[in-house]
């Protein structure tokens, strides 16, 4: 049913867009025929934007039905586990190499 409604609404916008576009050439002067700019491409762009929006709406509906929005507070912890639990910092700079004190070493050798 939802898909049918979505398809119908998309078809409606496409048809409205195509019907409103003016393809007929308009004569401004005898020697020059100017073709007015067609807004069909703009309508295609609007339809694609609508498709993106509709896909978002469908995904949102699916997410709601499949329980993705339940227990949101505990969902934030799903990236943690027993191996890398909450509270464990997982990134540090590598330590600087211990510098050899060449001068002192030379002195010892000398």
């Amino acid at each position: 049913m939802k898909l049918a409604l979505t398809a119908l609404s998309l078809a409606y916008f496409s048809i409205v867009g195509l019907c409103r576009a003016d393809f007929s050439p308009v004569e401004y002067r005898d020697d020059i025929i100017l073709t007015p700019i067609s807004y069909v491409p703009t309508m295609i762009m609007v339809v694609v934007t609508l498709l993106i929006t509709v896909s978002v709406a469908l995904a949102l509906t699916w997410a709601g039905k499949s329980g993705q929005f339940e227990n949101l507070s505990s969902s934030a912890e799903t990236i943690f586990d027993e191996g890398e639990p909450v509270g464990q910092v997982t990134d540090k700079f590598p330590p600087h190499k211990p510098r050899k004190n060449k001068r002192r070493l030379k002195g010892v050798i000398v």
């Binding site: 934007t49 993106i52 934030a76 990236i79 990134d91 700079f93």
Partner: protein, 517 residues
């Protein structure tokens, strides 16, 4: 049962009752499965980053010193060195060569981690990576040889676009397969962002290729479609991946869950609903239907919802952990990127309104805004992600902490200076162009005042452009430091440490080493 599934089943007999060692082994196996495709994407993105930065410096220098690199020794004047080719070559190299390639690598790793399955169908990813780089190479060559389409952000010839689209379609197919085979459980917010990016961008790219290059539309409609794409490529491709990275890495590095998971979900869905209506605000006062511009301005204003939710969430998650910025290279870059996202978005919203757009558009201010978004936000985010991911892929730590620090400070300072220069120069340029900043104030004899001539306005931007070039050189030094560290890491230079730091102390446990060996 496929070998991978069998391996996973053996590794993960009961997902709910795994011991810490088993969990770590599972994670290590997932990381290892990402190694080949991720290294293909990261390695090639490094090459494009270097090339793109060199092209940027050449283009930037030409703006204030036009005689710079006009000809080559023995070759004389060379067309490919003209600003009109170098500048789009830089743009396309960093957008498609560096940023998108690095983003694809990060997507692969994050998808595998969040789906909690090893990467399947590696050949799809490697093929997609090879095709993507081939597409960028063909496109770059086309631009430099003068076959640019002339459409901003889509200058690559159609042949290159076809290769890129095929590669991208392969990536999307792979993402769908991974998503379908994910382990049951909650879909983390980063996954929503990544899946959205991989799903929407082919639509956007394919649609625009048809309308602008295959069956080109006429007149001002080109401008509408061009800016719709140029803006949405940021909002529906780079932004979701950047935010997915931040939403995973900030909690993971600090060891703290996201402050408000509810806000993160709200941020994603509001971005998804509002962003695709953006783009038309670049055509304020242009010869296009006013409703397109108005819809776009409204959508830009609505973007305040996802931006504020993300900003609040990131800040409150970091609250109490800011001291970790001193000790974690990943966090430094990622938090810097997250703060820049807020700045870029609020700046973008403010620029969408007609009153500000009339001053700032068609000036260096807009270029500065692009760099806040693409460099300070997205590129820094990718650097942070690579600092986290690479050691886990190759089982070796970054060889030099000093090079990481040089990388951070050069890119951060260089980036900020560049933005200040472009914003300052752009505002001066804009105010003079619309005759708000006058050469001589109005007097009784001259009630409208004396405006600056175009050449005077141009000359006024020169100091700002010099500063921009200097900042670009600083950024390049940072990139070289990163490149050296990257290559040294691949060559396994440096000492193997008994207690790895980047990998977490626990990873040196004998159990894990036995599994990962």
């Amino acid at each position: 049962m496929s070998p991978i599934s069998a391996q996973q089943s053996a590794l993960n007999p009961d997902a709910d009752s795994l011991t810490p060692a088993q969990r770590m082994a599972e994670r290590a196996a997932i990381d290892r499965s990402c190694r080949t495709p991720c290294l293909v994407f990261f390695g090639t993105s490094m090459f494009w980053l270097m090339l793109g930065t060199i092209l940027a410096i050449i283009a930037s220098t030409k703006l204030h010193t036009p005689e710079f690199m006009v000809s080559l020794p023995f070759f004389g004047d060379v067309g490919l060195l003209t600003f009109g080719r170098i500048r789009p070559a830089h743009l396309n190299t960093v957008i498609y060569g560096w940023a998108s390639t690095a983003a694809l690598g990060v997507c692969v790793w994050l998808m595998a981690r969040l789906c909690r399955v090893q990467v399947m169908n590696t050949w799809i990813l490697v093929t997609a990576g090879a095709l993507w780089n081939l597409g960028v190479f063909v496109g770059m060559l086309g631009i430099l040889l003068g076959w640019s389409t002339g459409v901003e952000w889509l200058e690559m010839p159609t042949q290159a676009a076809f290769i890129l689209f095929t590669s991208y379609a392969l990536m999307s197919v792979w993402a769908i397969l991974m998503f379908a085979n994910r382990k049951p459980g909650h879909i983390f917010v980063s996954q929503w962002y990544i899946f959205g990016a991989l799903f929407w961008f082919p639509w956007l790219y394919g649609c625009v290729q048809i309308l602008l290059l295959l069956q080109p539309v006429e007149g001002s409609v080109q401008g509408i479609i061009n800016w719709w794409f140029a803006h949405n490529v940021l909002g529906l491709w780079f932004t979701p991946i950047g935010l997915a990275t931040a939403y995973y890495l900030i909690p993971k590095v600090t060891g703290k869950p996201i402050h408000s998971y509810y806000l993160s979900i709200l941020g994603f869905w509001s971005l998804a609903l509002f962003y695709s209506w953006n783009g038309g605000h670049h055509l304020v006062n242009g010869p296009v239907p006013a409703w397109i511009i108005s819809v776009s301005i409204v959508a830009s204003a609505m973007m305040i919802i996802p931006v504020v939710t993300v900003a609040i969430n990131h800040h409150l998650t970091m609250k109490g952990s800011f001291h970790l910025l001193k000790t974690s290279p990943t966090l430094r870059f990622v938090v810097f990127g997250a703060m820049s996202y807020t700045l870029a978005s609020l700046q973008g919203i403010s620029m969408a309104f007609r009153i500000s757009n009339e001053v700032t558009h068609f000036t260096h201010y807009t270029i500065g805004h692009s760099h806040v978004g693409m460099y300070l936000f997205f590129t820094m985010m990718m650097f942070g992600a690579m600092y986290y991911i690479m050691p886990r892929l190759v089982g070796w730590e970054w060889p030099s902490a000093r090079l990481i620090k040089i990388h951070f400070w050069c890119t951060a300072v260089g980036g900020v200076v560049m933005i200040i220069a472009l914003a300052g120069g752009g505002i001066e340029q804009g105010l003079k162009l619309v005759n708000i900043w006058l050469k001589e104030a109005p007097t009784e004899a001259n009630p409208s005042g004396t405006p600056y001539s175009f050449m005077e306005i141009l000359a006024g931007t020169l100091p700002w452009l010099w500063v921009r070039t200097m900042s670009g050189i600083l950024i390049f030094i940072g990139h070289v430091a990163f490149g050296i560290n990257f290559v040294l890491m691949l060559l396994r230079r440096g000492e193997r440490r008994l207690t790895p730091t980047l990998l977490g102390e626990k990873s040196s446990s004998p159990k894990l080493e036995a599994v990962t060996a």
